[in-house]
């Protein structure tokens, strides 16, 4: 009896590892293929049948890629968009969320519902008039249309932070209120420091969204001096068509930092996504 249970456990364990390994292989192979491709010579890249590993490892793809792809400038442009967006989104969403979570006033519920409803509106609906409006005020061709909207609360983060604030004990904020701390003081000095994990998740999400965004830069940035990495890579891909060596080298340079950030901040990610979970 005991033996059969142990036996079943063992089989279960081996089976689950086998399935997980098979899935891991499928998920990881594109990235492995990218790294292998980045170091292959044109002859090895275009070998049929496909050559997995190569003996003459080359750095040419990187030097060629970096020469034609102004990585530094694109990264700088992307950071100029991503960093203010991330700070603006975190501060403004937290500010709004505090009001929705802690201040009892008649518009609290309706405002929350309206903010949630905006998540349902596809970007396409507002995209064209927004573009024309930004054009009218002379913002097209600048980073502003990609940054400014984040300073007025982002619905998803407002939702996430409100859920988090609902969980902070009322006695904490009420005590401060009795001591005569203003609401802004309570938000800034008590609630913000307490919500560091949730804020970190929001900032990470926003950073990645700004870093990866294609449609926004595609609409608003036409001057190649202002390209972001994603937009630049899109055009680079158009020019290089099937020159996979430089393409893989450049992709690897863009992917590896994200992967490293992810390894360092794994916990924050997982917590953030779990937080956004579905309760209530």
């Amino acid at each position: 009896m005991l033996q059969s249970v142990l036996w079943r456990r063992l089989v279960e364990k081996i089976a689950s590892h086998a399935i997980l390994l098979a899935f891991s292989f499928c998920f990881f192979i594109p990235l492995l293929w990218m790294v292998l491709g980045a170091f292959k010579t044109p002859a090895d890249l275009n070998a049929t049948p496909v050559k997995w590993f190569t003996h003459d490892i080359t750095w040419d793809n990187f030097s060629q890629g970096v020469q034609t792809f102004p990585m530094g400038r694109y990264v700088l442009n992307t950071l100029i968009i991503a960093v203010p967006s991330m700070i603006g989104a975190a501060v403004s969403s937290s500010f709004i969320a505090y009001g929705l979570a802690r201040i009892d006033w008649p518009l609290r519920k309706p405002l929350f519902v309206v903010i949630l409803a905006t998540m349902m509106i596809p970007y396409y609906v507002t995209m064209v008039p927004l573009f024309q409006m930004f054009k009218a005020i002379g913002w097209v061709g600048t980073f502003l249309p990609l940054i400014a909207p984040h300073f007025f609360g982002v619905a998803f983060y407002v939702f996430l932070l409100r859920q988090f604030y609902m969980g902070i004990p009322r006695s904490l904020t009420d005590a401060a209120r009795v001591d005569g701390v203003s609401e802004i003081g309570i938000w800034w000095r008590i609630v913000l420091p307490l919500s560091r994990p949730a804020l970190a998740a929001v900032m990470l999400f926003q950073f990645l969204i700004s870093w990866s965004d294609l449609l926004g830069p595609l609409l608003y940035l036409s001057n190649s001096n202002l390209y972001t990495v994603s937009l630049g890579l899109t055009y680079f891909r158009g020019e290089y068509a099937t020159a996979f060596g430089p393409l893989m080298a450049v992709s690897a340079i863009l992917i590896v930092p994200v992967a490293v950030v992810f390894f360092l901040a794994q916990r924050t990610f997982i917590q953030g996504i779990t937080l956004s979970g579905i309760k209530e």
């Binding site: 590892h17 491709g37 396409y124 609906v125 609360g153 994603s230």
Partner: protein, 312 residues
């Protein structure tokens, strides 16, 4: 009543309230101000403007604008390219959303067994979902390449002669589905969180009662993760109708091959920003919105009652 009073005689209404109420009202307004500005600037104004545009022949070039009534909407009805773009959007969504959810649940279940190396596996499955779509798209171009790509090479190990993927009109959409499913990391984490809410004693009880693993999964696990499944379904459908970047990167935004990957989002973008037909594109956006709303409502109607929210 109170709203009407406040409107008719605001000063009297304000004075009739307690100091606490007034204090809260003031602070409520302060904290809501950024939200009000954002809602007006980035949602109310553009949404209203796009309704108005959709009934005009407005262009991006500044040519004279005229009212055209419902012409844009009726034109859309007759536009075969629009219909095929909707068809392509549905095709990709109907495959990518369920497959993504099923694979995410399988991975979450396996990870939940607390096997050794859990964090290693989790990292591998999650990583693709946070990579910049353009960069990973470029990588997949190489993976899908029928001659030099790794996908057909791996398939050939099993004796399968792989298709031309992105170059083959029949296989371009499945290729996009594969690319999308690859980025399911977020879903997996959500499902993993859902699995933590399945009571362990209920599982054990079912096992004692002799339920096999499928019965345990279907009658114990699924009800407890049903809110998460619903969330995944709804957000998947909303995102599915806005599918854009993968197509733009993998097929250069042209709908190649032979229009097989022309999805509604790309078609709308082309009309607005390449053909400058603002009115027509606005009509498209609203039709898409209505389709999304109807689909969401249908899903709630179909599955809403079967979703189990804790003990309520």
């Amino acid at each position: 009543m109170s709203a009407a009073q406040a409107f008719l005689n605001p000063r009297r209404w304000w004075r009739s309230k307690t100091p606490m109420y007034r204090r809260n009202y003031k602070w409520g307004l302060v904290f809501a101000t950024p939200a009000f500005i954002g809602l007006a600037w980035f949602f109310a104004y553009p949404a209203i403007a796009s309704i108005v545009y959709s009934f005009s022949n407005r262009t991006m070039t500044g040519a004279k604008t005229q009212w055209v009534g419902g012409t844009n909407y009726s034109g859309l009805f007759k536009d075969s390219e629009w219909w095929s773009s909707l068809g392509n959007t549905f095709y990709i969504m109907v495959l990518a959303v369920p497959i993504g959810i099923v694979v995410a649940v399988i991975l979450a279940l396996l990870l939940n067994l607390k096997v050794r190396g859990q964090s290693f596996y989790r990292t591998i499955f999650f990583l693709p979902s946070i990579l910049p779509v353009v960069a990973s798209g470029v990588v997949w171009l190489y993976v899908f390449n029928p001659q030099y790509g790794v996908l057909n090479n791996v398939l050939s190990w099993f004796g399968i002669n792989g298709p031309g993927w992105l170059q083959d009109p029949n296989w371009a959409k499945p290729a996009l589905v594969i690319f999308s499913v690859w980025g399911l990391g977020n879903l997996m984490v959500i499902m993993l969180a859902g699995l933590q809410e399945v009571p362990q004693d209920l599982q054990e009880q079912a096992m004692v009662d002799g339920a096999n693993w499928w019965h345990r999964f279907w009658h114990v696990t699924v009800p407890f993760i049903s809110p998460h499944l619903m969330f995944a379904l709804i957000t998947g459908v909303i995102a599915g109708f806005q599918y854009f970047t993968p197509v733009y990167v993998l097929t250069n935004g042209s709908g190649d091959p032979a229009g097989a990957t022309m999805v509604s989002g790309v078609y709308l973008y082309q009309n607005a920003f390449q053909n400058f037909k603002v009115g027509y594109a606005s009509a498209m956006a609203w039709v898409l919105f209505i389709i999304i709303a109807v689909c969401t409502a249908l899903l709630f109607k179909l599955f809403g009652k079967r979703v189990y929210y804790g003990g309520e």
